[in-house]
């Protein structure tokens, strides 16, 4: 991309918001899988892979310091490192915890989406010179 377009769209705000949305969408899939499997014997709860989570945190740090975000690994889900107590059938999913996680995660996703929307709206106003 040319210099002008690059500096328009690679601001720390836009990049970190976009990364957050990626991560939150992935986490929602993990939570939905947990909720779906709440009655499956022997099921251990899933979460975003620690590989991806680490890369995400690093990318956020890089972006806030003005450096490029770096390559993100494949978006994968794996068995969570922290498992709660298992019920007699071996299932470790706590449905209340998953519902709370889901509410918090979706709030984060929607917040990032709203911030992106207003960011783009501001840019549009700046570029066209008229408030729409």
């Amino acid at each position: 991309m040319s210099m002008a377009l690059d500096s328009l769209f690679n601001t720390p705000a836009l990049q970190s918001l976009s990364l957050t949305m990626n991560e939150a969408a992935l986490r929602h899939q993990a939570i939905a899988s947990n909720i779906a499997n709440v009655n499956t014997p022997g099921f251990k709860r899933l979460d975003v892979s620690s590989n991806f989570e680490q890369a995400f945190t690093n990318a956020l740090n890089n972006v806030s310091e003005g450096q490029p975000a770096g390559e993100m690994p494949d978006a994968t889900i794996e068995t969570a490192a922290e498992q709660g107590p298992a019920r007699p059938d071996g299932n470790t999913v706590q449905i209340e915890q998953e519902m709370v996680n889901m509410a918090q995660n979706s709030a984060r996703y929607e917040f990032a989406g709203q911030m992106l929307a207003s960011n783009f709206h501001g840019m549009k106003t700046a570029i066209t010179g008229t408030v729409s």
Binding site: L5, L8, F9, L14, N22, L116, F120, K124, I127, T128
Partner: protein, 142 residues
Amino acid sequence: MINPLDALSALTQQMQAPATGANAALPTVATNGVGAPNAVTENFSLLSPTATEVPQIASPTVSGGGVGGPSTWGHMVQQMVRDVNAQQQNATAMVTDVLKGGSTPVHQAMVATEEANLSFEFLTEVRNKVVEAYQQVMQMQV
């Protein structure tokens, strides 16, 4: 009397210097004879298409003096047009992937679409400002 073509070549040379894009320095008419024979060969054709499928904002090609390096105003605008086109195609590809049920997240396609639209609007504004500047120059009383 000031030759309008000389004035235009001076304008484009001034626009090259800051290289910041749209609202470059206001055109000042210089009465120096900047290679008068060369100025005649200038073609400042803002509104005529230069290539095939790209949304067309044609660029002025300056052939005056020794200022034909890779960072001329014309090259910059052409590069921007290519970049905007690439962005639009990338956004369309992402949207198609979402529609086909592929692995692209929806918000990524939305962000790409919005960025492509904004880039295009930005380019349009650049063109508008350049045309405005040109018209201002042409309207000057000589």
